[in-house]
């Protein structure tokens, strides 16, 4: 894409070729009214208010692309007339309830009505009764307020991927003939559609049964879609916005905590909701609704603090997880250096080992790409990630590519998923066996690799799977059939020859790829794949947690490096937890825990934690300043939304004379570790520009390391698991103790199974890992799971699930009646 120049209202602006006029204008700070368009989603042309004149023709700015030298006029008399009529139509029968409406003050209908200067109404039509409904545990839809801009349905389809809502029939009265004749054209068209529709769940029931991400509530320009918890609880203008970073997964989405006093009687601050720059970042349900996990403590508990100091003095091991900031990780590393303790962190350790081995093979310290690049590609492959559960943004990217870039996708995972195939027509799913991940990577090498670049050995190995087979296919041929027909009238018989189609078997020679069948691919994969590859030029590979927790992780990492090398693919990895990448880069982690264990947000002999059940309280992530490293390899800042009155890790460090004044004084000192920079916390930006460019923190340097000559080895079926298998995987919206604590997130700690599997199980079961380790779990049906593998969550740290699974993510288990 190249830079071109266009003129808007006579002034010249630079923009990118292929950009929509609206986005070009926005990027240059030119205002064009627009309601229904969402950046990163397809234009729906529902509102038609973005009408502009381009080179003398009226076009929709959200839908028309710029051309070199294009001259755009934002308003002409006719366009102004259309816009005014459109806003008047939106105001027809719109309830006069701004007074109570949650959106008042930030409502786009209010804003545009005033902006366009609607001070009188020319249109009218009898109203239709439209009911308030609750679509799910978090969604509240007030059809009366809905202006059917379809932003909610668009985001749900194009970004989230659920497509859980759609437009449905409103049952409104038909527009009159005069209206058609007398009204401006676009306003009429808009009204005509508006009068016919409202928004309904796509599954035909009353409930969306969706991912409950709440993104639809975020994009709704009016008060029609609001989270149930927020309804009528506060006016928008009363809330103070604290820019922060979501603490739950490695996407590290930029969010705003919006807070004010709890009530008249209670002046303590409370977070009322989380909002986001929905044009540029999409949250998941955990980020949007999991905000009230703060650790409320009365004050400094001196006694517990002394106990903690003693515990650290006698500790052999500090155990923690990656839902911590870089600064905390740094402090733990300093404690290790001072006290000589071991640092144990299961998720970061596995990830770090994988990364280390990968960089030895690839020659760079980090994977080469990020998810912004993935979103731009037109072919995505996901390996080893339960996309729906592991990382919502990876899934949004996978989906968005299908919808926006006419893309294709390959999804490799042992657990069947009902949602992923619906992302697009060109999505192929492989439900391979547990342990076959190496075969998957070989298949990718085989499908996408530049064979000439491959080591001979590997090339031969791949070739060994191919064989040319004779295959009988059915082919349609036209055959002439001659029959004798007796003419009834004349009694004469006549010979008639007709051409009729006939299926015949034909033998052809095809190249059969043994890897496909090993992985359980469909028979005609070759053909499908050919179609998928049409007009594709930008490929991405997403690597997930299954590969880090794998008996043959080392070989996998080398294969990944090899793929990146020979396939010309954007490679990204999903760090298992919020800041696993940061921790992996900062901490010197140990293999085995031993002796006296101090648990930092984890299970241990002495526990410090941000959940109520710890001996010494520490601040939760919405009460701390600090930074995270996101999966996009960016160091992003987060700010405290709520006050914390107790001790923090820095106080403990100060007892050992290695602390600093403030926790964030450690931020610039992170530069000690490769990739980090010496930048003060307060100098880290946290926002987006008008172009959608992420202006947050700084990007980690991808340092080249010495490339070692390593070779990949053949895969081995001996590690394939058979029988009853448990998979360590959280339900959607649950990631850690913090999401668990949030009152709007109610997915329980239970065994998640597919509907078919559920029929073979009791309501409560005992999952036996080995003789001594069993878990008693409730069985919960997730109707988006397919197959027999059962999912065991790990979000409750005191359940110590990581230790049970050890270095694997899959385990064979015995499920007994509970």
């Amino acid at each position: 894409m190249s830079e071109i120049t266009i003129k808007i209202d006579g002034r010249e602006y630079k923009t990118q070729e292929g950009e929509y006029i609206l986005n070009a204008a926005r990027a240059n700070d030119v205002f064009i009214p627009a309601i229904c368009y969402l950046t990163r989603c397809s234009p729906t042309l529902a509102c038609r208010i973005c009408l502009v004149e381009a080179d003398g023709k009226q076009v929709y700015a959200c839908n028309a692309k710029v051309k070199e030298g294009m001259e755009v006029t934002v308003s002409t008399p006719n366009i102004l007339k259309e816009r005014r009529a459109i806003m008047e139509v939106y105001d027809v029968n719109h309830p006069l309830q701004c007074g109570v409406c949650d959106k008042s003050g930030e409502c786009e209908l209010q804003n545009y009505t005033l902006e366009i200067g609607v001070d009188s109404q020319s249109y009218s039509i009898p109203d239709t009764k439209r009911e308030n409904t609750n679509w799910s545990s978090v969604l509240h839809y007030d059809a009366g307020l809905c202006i059917v801009c379809e932003r909610c349905t668009t985001v749900c389809k194009d970004m989230i991927g659920d497509a859980a809502i759609k437009t449905g029939a409103r049952g409104g009265e038909k527009l009159s003939k005069e209206a058609k004749d007398s009204m401006p054209k676009d306003a009429y068209a808009m009204w005509n559609k508006l009068q016919k529709s409202i928004i309904v769940p796509s599954n035909g029931t009353e409930h969306t049964n969706c991912s409950d991400c709440g993104e639809c509530t975020a994009v709704c320009p009016v008060g029609a879609l609001v989270s149930r918890d927020f309804v009528y609880s506060s006016n928008a203008w009363e809330l103070e916005r604290v820019p922060a970073t979501c603490a739950h997964c490695s996407s590290g989405c930029q969010i705003y905590y919006e807070k004010k006093h709890t009530s008249i009687a209670n002046p303590d601050e409370k977070i009322y909701r989380v909002t986001n720059e929905w044009n540029f970042v999409s949250l998941c349900g955990a980020g949007r609704f999991g905000y009230d996990f703060q650790n409320d403590v009365e004050g400094k508990d001196v006694e517990a603090f002394e106990q903690a100091i003693n515990a650290f003095k006698k500790a052999d091991t500090i155990k923690f997880n990656s839902a911590i900031t870089n600064e905390e990780a740094f402090m733990l590393q300093l404690l290790k250096e001072k006290l000589g303790v071991k640092l144990i962190n299961h998720d970061a350790k596995a990830f770090k080992d994988f990364l280390d081995s990968y960089s030895k093979a690839s020659g760079s310290s980090l994977y080469g790409s990020d998810f912004r690049e993935v979103m731009k590609s037109d072919f995505v492959i996901s390996v080893g990630a339960s996309l729906r559960n592991d990382n919502p943004n990876a899934r949004y990217a996978f989906n968005n590519v299908q919808k926006m870039n006419k893309g294709a996708g390959l999804y490799f995972h042992p657990v069947g998923d009902m949602l992923v195939p619906t992302f697009g027509k060109s999505v192929e799913v492989f439900n391979h066996k547990v342990g076959q991940e190496e075969a998957v990577l070989y298949l990718i090498l085989d499908l996408f690799g530049d064979k000439d670049k491959l080591p001979v050995q590997t090339k031969d190995y791949l070739a060994s799977f191919h064989k040319t087979v004779k295959k009988t296919i059915k082919e349609k041929v036209m055959e002439s059939v001659t029959s004798t027909v007796v003419d009834k009238e004349t009694g004469e018989s006549k010979e008639v020859t007709k051409k009729v189609p006939k299926m015949v078997d034909k033998e052809v020679e095809v190249d059969e790829n043994g890897l496909v069948s090993i992985l359980g691919g469909s028979d005609n994969f070759a053909e499908t794949f050919e179609k998928m590859m049409k007009k594709k030029e930008n490929f991405s590979l997403i690597i997930g947690e299954d590969l880090y927790f794998h008996p043959r992780a080392r070989n996998l990492s080398r294969l990944v490096a090899l793929i990146e090398d020979v396939c010309d693919m954007n490679l990204v990895m999903i760090p298992p937890r919020t800041n696993s990448l940061g921790v992996a880069m900062i901490c010197n982690l140990d293999e085995e825990e031993s002796g006296y264990i101090v648990g930092y947000n984890e299970h241990g002999h002495f526990r410090l934690g941000a959940r109520g059940f710890s001996k010494l309280d520490i601040p939760a992530l919405n009460q701390q300043e600090g930074t995270f490293v996101t999966m996009n390899k960016v160091v992003v800042p987060t700010n405290p939304a709520l006050e914390y009155k107790g001790y923090e890790l820095n106080d403990i460090l100060n007892e050992f004379d290695i602390g600093l004044d403030e926790t964030i004084d450690f931020t610039p000192k992170l530069a000690r570790f490769d990739g980090f920079k010496d930048i003060e916390f307060d100098d880290l930006p946290n926002g987006y520009t008008n172009t959608g460019k992420e202006n947050r923190g700084y990007i980690i340097d991808n340092i080249s390391v010495e490339k070692q000559a390593v070779s990949v080895v053949e895969f081995n079926d001996s590690i394939v698991l058979e029988g009853e298998i448990a998979y360590r995987c959280n339900p959607q919206r649950q990631f850690n103790d913090f999401t668990d604590k949030s009152h709007q997130i109610n997915e329980e700690f239970a065994l998640y199974v597919s509907p078919s599997k559920a029929q073979t199980l009791e309501e409560e079961v005992e999952v036996e890992f080995d003789k001594d380790t069993t878990l008693k779990l409730k069985v919960v049906v997730d109707d988006r799971i397919d197959g027999d593998i059962v999912l065991v969550p790990d979000f409750k740290s005191h359940q110590n699930i990581y230790s049970i699974f050890g270095k694997d993510r899959y385990k064979t288990v015995t499920i007994k009646k509970g």
């Binding site: 701004c98 007074g99 109570v100 008042s104 001070d119 009188s120 109404q121 020319s122 249109y123 009218s124 039509i125 009898p126 308030n132 309804v231 009528y232 609880s233 506060s234 006016n235 203008w237 009363e238 009530s263 008249i264 009687a265």
Partner: protein, 207 residues
């Protein structure tokens, strides 16, 4: 339409008298003339007469002006901005406040606080409403901005209190439900102007 009409809130009728002042004497001759005039007029005795007459009128003609304040109270002008009252709807008795928060927003001394919630009837319920009268400056903005004519200034002008800050809660200000029939529409600050109808454009209805 300009804003002048909206701003015309002059509900009282002005009845001021202008006192005529005698010109101050400038020359000595004028001064002398004034001294003479005053001597002849016996102004001192006029003064005595005035006070005596006043006393007579006060005592015997019922012209005593004292209002025995705590027992007797003078009616207060509707434009006076005294302690707020929250009115109810006359038909249903439900409080008028819809919890829109405009008064809270406009309040110049930031002394109004409102708690609201979503109630069983899918309405916005005002669970608590307070004004901190220790801070209120009785500017009347809240009454002016209220779209529901819900918050008004009442006639309770006795605002002294033993506490430095005195809060008033919803019940204190709300018309008691048994006094609903005697609730009066408020004519002062923020009331609908008498010519309100002329100032709005009608919205067409399709019924």
């Amino acid at each position: 339409m300009g804003l002048e009409k909206f701003k015309d809130r002059n509900v009282g009728i002005q009845q001021y008298k202008v006192v005529e002042h005698e010109a101050f004497p400038k020359s000595n001759a004028q001064k002398f003339a004034r001294v003479m005039k005053r001597m002849v007029k016996g102004e001192l005795f006029v003064g005595l007469w005035v006070t005596l007459r006043t006393m007579y009128q006060a005592l015997f003609q019922d012209d005593m002006h004292t209002v025995k304040y705590p027992f007797e109270k003078l009616p207060i002008s509707p434009r006076y901005r005294a302690i707020h009252e929250m009115l109810r709807l006359l038909e249903s008795g439900h409080y008028r406040c819809i919890g829109c928060g405009l008064c809270e927003k406009i309040c110049i001394s930031d002394c109004i606080k409102i708690d609201t919630k979503y109630d069983e009837n899918q309405r916005k319920e005002v669970t608590e409403y307070t004004i901190n009268f220790g801070r209120c400056i009785f500017c009347g903005y809240c009454a002016e901005v209220c779209p529901e004519l819900a918050i008004v200034h009442g006639g309770r002008y006795e605002t002294s209190s033993q506490q430095r800050a005195s809060f008033s809660i919803f019940e204190d200000m709300l018309t008691p439900i048994d006094a609903l029939s005697s609730q009066k529409e408020y004519p002062g600050f923020g009331a609908v102007s008498p010519n309100a109808d002329d100032n709005i454009k009608k919205t067409p209805l399709a019924y």
